[in-house]
């Protein structure tokens, strides 16, 4: 059939559906990641399953437990034969079997002793994940992760409730993959090449096909310039102006021999997208906020490429950009002939290249000033950065240990706001902390035994009330039914909730590892009673 037969390797075939989301470079980041899981619980193995399948480099399970009958009941990576054996070993074997590209390891030493004697053990990991830890241990692992600069994801299934918490020092995302990005067309501030393109278009052509295939951007720009010329340089402002503007485009349709207006798709598009004509090009507020970050003003030789590029971006905006970010250079598809569409595309792409070059010059200047090699930031890096300039994001998710140590006014305000709604999932944040206080005193969770449900309600309520006071939100109450329900759960780990959390946590892990897409910040609570959730920054 064809001599230039292309061999698609096995890996590309296997990972095809995900490579379309995070690309080969995202995959490379995954494949070099080392993930550490604390506790081979159902929640833990569900997280790892979703990381082993897409091919992380390696995982290590820390677990000193022996497999119990209840474990086999809710965990897919254990079987009846494994009862009494090392949980770390069995789950590692069965997880490893999912994907031979991944290396699986396990450690049977208790977490406590690793934390006490061998903190360095954790250093090589790209990401730490802990499941089913109560507050006290959580705080300890959190401190170690802060110390070693490792991102940390805490996950907990408790009855029908799910809890997810991300802790990350500073996470900079260039490729955030916005959902429906606005086109960057600059009709309000047309650059010279765009204007000269417009001049080459013959709007009076007698050829019907030609007239019906003028790119709508050219139609919009022509009418906008004419409008501005007759309105003191201002674009359409009022809704009456805007209707009139659209009517002008309507009148620009060709008149057929029978006197009626021709049906021209390009004119339809121009009318539909007329808002692009008065859209004001500007810098998104998130990016202005980044420009004000102290990292931008205080570049040093240890500054990350990200911050050097943000500084260069700000320099570009203040110089060549004349107040705007580099042009992104892409245009939407539109009813047009190939030639004029592709020439228009070219005009935008060339302008974008021009802006990238100017931006790169700023980057090189800063690198030289900092005494860093120019190769620190490649041309491709600079190009990707410019293309994503409006969508850059920085996430800082504060340490869990700080959150647990004392209530800041921000935490109090956030809780106050959410607890206003008695059905908010945020109530479970308070309840999960309350069951941990109960555990610390009683050595068991409320409702651990079938006969303890009713008797534990009142004591748990005491912890809830005390906690609300400590958190500065004593004016709110937690519904009695929710307290009862927590006692009923008795710390059960239901497979379905474990699996929902396994999906969510692994997705966030992929975001953190690939530095693509935007992770949550910093607490997610799932209410499996009603299938609702809240995402809050605590």
């Amino acid at each position: 059939m064809t001599s230039a037969s292309m061999i698609v390797d096995r890996k590309t075939q296997r990972y095809d559906r995900q490579l379309r989301l995070w690309g080969d470079h995202g995959q490379a980041a995954l494949e070099s990641a080392r993930v550490c899981l604390i506790n081979g619980s159902a929640t833990g193995t569900e997280i790892l399953k979703n990381l082993v399948l897409p091919g992380i480099g390696s995982f290590t399970v820390i677990d000193s437990e022996k497999v119990s009958g209840a474990d086999v009941g809710n965990n897919f990576f254990l079987d009846a034969d494994s009862i009494g054996q090392s949980r770390a070993r069995v789950v590692t074997e069965l997880l490893q079997e999912l994907n031979t590209d991944v290396s699986g390891n396990f450690v049977e030493e208790p977490l406590q002793s690793l934390l006490d004697n061998d903190v360095e053990f954790f250093r090589p990991f790209t990401l730490m994940i802990a499941t089913q830890l109560s507050s006290k241990m959580l705080a300890r692992v959190s401190e170690v992760c802060v110390k070693l600069g490792i991102p940390f994801l805490a996950v907990r299934s408790y009855g029908l409730i799910g809890y997810l918490r991300l802790q990350i020092g500073e996470h900079c995302v260039i490729e955030s993959h916005p959902d429906s990005p606005m086109d960057d067309l600059r009709l309000d501030r047309p650059f010279p090449e765009l204007l000269s393109y417009l001049q080459q278009i013959d709007f009076n052509t007698q050829d019907g096909f030609q007239h019906a295939h003028i790119p709508f951007l050219a139609i919009l720009l022509k009418h906008l310039l004419e409008w501005k010329a007759s309105h003191g340089g201002l674009p359409p402002k009022t809704s009456k102006d805007k209707d009139e503007f659209r009517a002008e485009i309507q009148r620009a349709r060709r008149i057929k021999e029978d006197g009626s207006r021709a049906e021209e798709e390009n004119h339809d598009e121009a009318i539909t997208h007329a808002t692009k004509a008065w859209h004001v090009s500007s810098i998104p507020s998130e990016i202005s906020a980044l420009f004000a970050d102290s990292n931008v003003d205080n570049l040093t030789a240890t500054s990350s490429p990200f911050w050097i590029m943000v500084r260069s971006l700000r320099d570009f905006v203040m110089a060549e950009g004349e107040g705007l970010l580099p042009l992104r250079g892409s245009i939407p598809d539109m009813a047009a002939d190939s030639d004029r569409y592709i020439r228009l595309q070219h005009v935008y792409q060339e302008r974008a290249k021009h802006d990238v070059a100017a931006f790169t010059a700023h980057v090189h200047r800063h690198l030289a000033e900092l005494g860093l090699p120019l190769g620190t930031i490649s041309d491709d890096d600079a190009k990707t950065f410019c293309r994503n300039a409006p969508f850059l994001r920085v996430i800082r998710a504060r340490p869990i240990s700080d959150e647990l140590a004392s209530a800041t006014s921000k935490l109090t305000d956030t809780l106050n706001f959410h607890l206003e709604d008695p059905d908010s999932s945020v109530a479970f944040y308070v309840l999960l902390r309350a069951v941990d206080l109960f555990f610390e005193e009683h050595g068991r969770f409320p409702g651990a035994g079938d006969d303890q449900v009713e008797e534990d309600i009142a004591p748990l309520k005491q912890y809830v009330v005390g906690l609300l006071t400590d958190l500065g939100v004593s004016q709110h109450a937690i519904k009695e039914e929710l307290i009862h329900e927590m006692c009923r759960f008795g710390a059960a780990e239901l497979h379905n909730i474990a699996s929902i959390l396994g999906g969510l946590a692994s997705q966030e892990a992929v975001k953190v590892i690939t530095r693509q897409y935007i992770p949550f910040n910093n607490t997610f609570l799932f209410n499996g009673i009603t299938s609702t959730s809240s995402t809050v920054e605590l």
Binding site: M1, I500, G503
Partner: protein, 525 residues
């Protein structure tokens, strides 16, 4: 908690009663493709047979498997919900160990699809205590499934998804009896579906979900007081990972940080086909909105006009479509394009690249070619896990009544941070499937039947091969060819010429729906 969900939970328990004797008959009537199935699993048939006491035991020759003995502590986790009373349980909920026995021994659940969602669903349901699970899927395993369909390995490529998945779960989860069906859902008779107390869908195909939804709605029977006959309503839990857009205006309360609370109108519109989105919903046929009620939230597949592809290509996809639609049939008139054959895709890629170069179009790659030709939707393990487990959790709650339910639609978006949005999707008053009233169809006496057929191919119908009957006559049949030929002349006749008047009823049948749809003609003045 509203009345509808209470009844649903109730009927979940009520449906534990014996299936009708028709079940045994339908087993015998199963298509030949299921021969493999019945011997892998005599136990599931045994449950039905044991329940139907007076039924003869012909055919299957099943030996009733001894009840599986569980090890100590096995169900400790789910028991906490089953043997303890809870403030959010259904009013009919009676905590007891027997409830677990109902799940383990009697409850029969059908999983449709053994792909990304299906694999997860089987695992989730098996570990939730469901033991009598049937799974139906017509697909075979492809290597690109292995990044998320965790019950399959490299060695399984090419085999039936349903068979391999069932075998894996039965091996891993002791005592679980997953019965595979390697066929299309349309191949199974109505009675097959009647045996189940719950149906969970993990499908990427809209037509298949439409079909099963309409079938389940059609199974609902009403008594003289227009109440649903207990046991005839089979809840359908539907999961999807296509991130459809709910373009309806939704009313919900928005709370600002300053503590103000007000109600606002929001338009929730998601971009299609992103890998980090999905939805889970609970459909109580005849009681809540059905799949068809929201059919227009699933946008039709993008297609390019032929004239664009042929004469004014602008983007890489135009060149790829040209290679597929125009060049391939020219070059290989006798060979059908096999989109799974890398050689075929490569040929299209090279041709598309050639054409793109002619026009100065950039960006044609092998990966893009494959994506456009096969209409590939990105997919990852994580999203499937979230959506499937959300569905399985609803199935567990519905079957046992141990908690409130999702009411009735949860959208998940994990692209930017983590968000779920739960709301009640309302029944569409003129839903084609669940409204029980003929749909008013605007038309005029002077238009030809062809115009009507064309409109049936659009929203909300999307009928591809309709058959139209009315006034005791057949007006048009798309198939078989002989009938098509004999009814074709009617396409150019006007409705008036066909004797159709304002208010006339038409029955339209199509492969998209298991039962014909009633239309009431409304002539425009």
């Amino acid at each position: 908690m509203d009345a509808s969900t209470e009844t649903a939970a109730q009927s979940g328990a009520l449906d534990a009663t014996a299936p009708s004797p028709a079940v045994a008959g339908s087993n015998n009537a199963r298509p030949a493709s299921n021969a493999i199935v019945s011997n892998t699993n005599t136990a599931a048939a045994a449950v039905a047979a044991a329940a139907v006491e007076d039924d003869d035991t012909e055919g299957e020759g099943e030996d009733v498997a001894p009840r599986f003995e569980d090890w100590a502590g096995r169900w400790d986790h789910i028991d906490k919900l089953l043997v303890r009373r809870g403030p959010f349980a259904q009013p009919t909920f009676e905590p007891c160990v027997e409830l677990r026995d109902f799940l383990l021994e009697q409850c029969r659940i059908l999983v449709i699809g053994a792909g990304g969602l299906g694999c997860e669903l089987l695992k989730d349901l098996a570990l939730s205590g469901f033991r009598n699970i049937d799974v139906i899927d017509m697909d075979t395993i492809d290597i690109s499934n292995l990044n998320r369909q965790f019950l399959f390995r490299q060695k399984d490529v090419g085999q039936s998804k349903a068979l391999v998945a069932a075998e894996f779960v039965n091996r891993r989860v002791a005592g679980c009896k997953v019965t595979p069906h390697f066929c299309k859902i349309q191949d199974k008779p109505e009675d097959f579906y009647r045996q189940f107390q719950l149906v969970v869908c993990g499908l990427d195909s809209i037509p298949a979900r439409r079909w099963i939804n309409a079938l389940l709605v059609s199974l609902v029977q009403y008594n003289d007081d227009k109440e649903i006959v207990p046991g005839t309503m089979i809840p359908m839990i539907d999961g999807g990972t296509e991130g459809n857009c709910v373009l309806r205006f939704l009313q919900f309360s928005v709370r600002l940080f300053v503590g103000l609370s007000f109600t606002a109108l929001f338009c929730v519109a998601g971009l299609l086909y992103q890998g980090f989105k999905g939805q889970a919903r609970v459909i109580l046929p005849g009681m809540s909105s059905c799949f068809e009620c929201s059919i227009d939230t699933f946008p039709p597949q993008t297609t390019f006009p032929l004239c664009t592809i042929a004469s004014t290509p602008r983007i890489p996809a135009h060149c790829i479509e040209y290679a597929k639609i125009v060049l391939w049939p020219q070059a290989f008139p006798d060979r059908a394009l096999d989109t799974d054959d890398p050689e075929h895709i490569n040929w299209l890629y090279l041709e598309a690249l050639k054409r793109a170069n002619e026009y100065g179009i950039q960006g044609v790659t092998y990966r893009l070619t494959q994506g456009v030709v096969k209409n590939i939707i990105p997919a990852v393990a994580s999203t499937n896990a979230v959506i499937a487990a959300a569905c399985a959790s609803e199935a567990f709650k519905l079957a046992t009544g141990c908690s409130s339910q999702l009411n009735n639609y949860m959208q998940f978006n994990g692209q930017d941070s983590l968000y779920t949005f739960t709301f009640e999707y309302e029944q569409k008053p003129d839903c084609l499937v669940c409204s029980n009233i003929p749909l008013d169809f605007a038309c005029s006496a002077s238009e030809p039947l062809r115009a009507l057929v064309e409109r049936l191919s659009e929203q909300p119908f999307q009928f591809k091969a309709p058959g139209i009957r009315g006034l005791g006559k057949t007006f048009y049949m798309s198939a078989p060819p002989s009938l098509e030929l004999s009814t074709r002349p009617n396409l150019d006749r006007t409705l008036a010429e066909l004797g159709l008047q304002d208010g006339a009823f038409l029955q339209v049948a199509d492969v998209a729906v298991p039962l014909p749809v009633q239309l009431k003609l409304q002539f425009r003045p």
